[in-house]
């Protein structure tokens, strides 16, 4: 896969279709992969990487990159194409300046899950027939591939590319995922249990803002959380209220636009299950206003900027029976 991508990128650079390539760059270890822009064939040869750890969604970077001189090549996994499409819909990316090559998605691996097995001093990780061969300083270890699959890939919603100029590999289908199971489980708890669950999670937040910074739906030039008059800008929460506030407002701001790309939960250093907040909104929107997948197209109306005169009343929430 990586070889085919480098080969195609070099061709497109050489024939002048693009003048830059957006991909991932090798780090010190096999699992260190960072989004990066490459300008020459030599750089691609030396540093370009696409492996089981290249999880990062590149679409948000294209907001800035598409405003630069010339066209850029971007490699997008199926989930990333949803984010890309949503950004096109919001007029954030200049489409003519991006050449999209769709590549197969995961399942990608989560290094933390390998380390959690007590495996340390990791030098290399290879997937051999769905068994991971892990070279470490202390010898070779093995573990089943599926036990190391990242959270976002475990709940994959679609293997289909919704936008591309060309594909490397096969296109897939929308999947019947079980991504709402945990939301449902929480819904069936009592109000007090839910409160305790979320207190336990949200109180871990250190307000590093990584979830906002990585989110392809959070692209405001002036974010409310950067407003010095808001009282909640750029600082750790001083009270549980502020923790709740940050998360409620951020989730609300991306409601109807969040494609469920999974980046927020992936980058959270505190492992807060942020996807549950987004999925709660997605689930509610689907059941109250009709099935809607953000980023699936560029023409449909976002459910929150639309209405129906027969919409349900908010009392539907209060009628859910005893707490």
């Amino acid at each position: 896969m990586q070889e085919a991508m480098i080969k195609r990128a070099k061709e497109l650079l050489a024939d002048g279709t693009v003048n830059r390539v957006m991909g991932w760059k090798k780090g010190e270890f096999v699992y260190d992969t960072t989004p990066a822009v490459f300008e020459t064939a030599e750089e691609l040869e030396k540093e370009f990487v696409c492996n089981d750890f290249t999880q990062a969604n590149l679409s948000k970077y294209l907001i800035k990159e598409s405003r630069k001189e010339g066209k850029i090549l971007a490699f997008l996994k199926p989930c990333d194409t949803y984010s890309f499409n949503q950004l096109l819909k919001e007029h954030r990316i200049i489409r003519e300046n991006v050449y999209v090559i769709g590549i197969p998605g995961g399942p990608k691996l989560d290094m933390e899950k390998i380390k959690a097995k007590g495996i340390s001093g990791i030098l290399d990780v290879k997937n051999e027939n769905f068994t991971l061969k892990i070279e470490t300083l202390y010898g070779t270890e093995t573990m089943p591939f599926y036990e190391a699959v990242s959270g976002k890939c475990a709940d994959c919603k679609s293997k289909k590319h919704v936008v591309y100029d060309e594909l490397i590999g096969e296109d897939g289908d929308v999947l019947a995922s079980r991504r709402f199971d945990m939301v449902e489980k929480l819904e069936n708890m009592t109000s007090q249990e839910r409160y305790d669950f979320w207190r336990g999670e949200l109180s871990k937040c250190i307000r590093c803002n990584a979830c906002r910074n990585v989110c392809p739906a959070c692209t405001c030039e002036n974010c409310v959380f950067d407003n010095p008059k808001s009282g909640i800008d750029q600082k750790a929460a001083a009270d549980s209220f502020e923790e709740n506030m940050f998360h409620i407002i951020r989730a609300f701001h991306v409601a109807g636009r969040c494609t469920d790309c999974g980046e927020c939960s992936r980058v959270c250093p505190q492992n807060i299950p942020l996807h549950l907040l987004n999925r709660k909104f997605i689930k509610d929107i689907n059941s109250l206003y009709g099935e809607y997948q953000a980023g699936a197209d560029t023409t449909s109306k976002c459910p929150l900027t639309d209405y129906d005169t027969d919409d349900c009343e908010p009392s539907i929430v209060h009628e859910r029976g005893v707490e």
Binding site: V183, L186, E187, S191, Q192, E193, R194, Y195, D196, F197, W198, R199, V224, A238, D239, S240, F241, E242, N244, M245, I248, I249, A251, F252, A255, L277, K280, F281, D284, I285, L288, Y289, P303, L304, T305, D306, Y307, D308, T309, D311, C312, E313, P314, S315, I316, V317, H318, R320, E323
Partner: protein
């Protein structure tokens, strides 16, 4: 939960200028009683109510928050309250999901002619919140009065 009979909840009511605020006014001129617990904040349209307003109200000491607007179809700006309805439904559902008591939030449509409805809604909502006791799950300790 223990119910403190002397507990006087603070209720913040966001009322749209064109219907509900006028409805509140009418209930006053008709000498109908509604509890002094209710603090009215006038907004140009129910859809002016940003979720942050609601959270701020809870932060600064509200025990319940109610939004009032024109009946669907009657919004002064034609469609504002239709957007309100979707947003607020989703927001209230999210607050419920986070374990905030669902009866602390409400939305009612009150027209300028419905002075009696305004009083009845406020009496009922104040009683519902009184039963829940003080807002503890979405409060800011730094803002607590006692």
């Amino acid at each position: 939960m223990q119910v403190n009979e002397n507990f006087e909840p603070v209720i913040v009511a966001f009322c749209c200028n064109w219907c509900s605020y006028a409805g509140a006014d009418l209930s006053g001129t008709n000498r109908l009683n509604y509890p002094t617990n209710v603090k009215i904040i006038r907004v140009p349209c129910s859809c002016r109510v940003n979720p942050i307003f609601i959270l701020r109200a809870f932060q600064r000491g509200a025990d319940g928050v109610i939004i009032c607007g024109c009946h669907p179809g009657d919004c002064h700006y034609t469609s504002g309250n239709y957007f309100t309805r979707r947003r607020i439904t989703l927001l209230y559902s999210m607050l419920d999901f986070l374990g905030i008591e669902r009866n602390r939030t409400r939305l009612e449509w009150v027209s300028a002619a419905e002075g009696a409805k305004f009083a009845a809604v406020m009496n009922q909502f104040t009683e519902d919140v009184r039963k829940l006791g003080p807002n503890r799950r979405l409060e800011d300790l730094r803002c607590r009065k006692q």
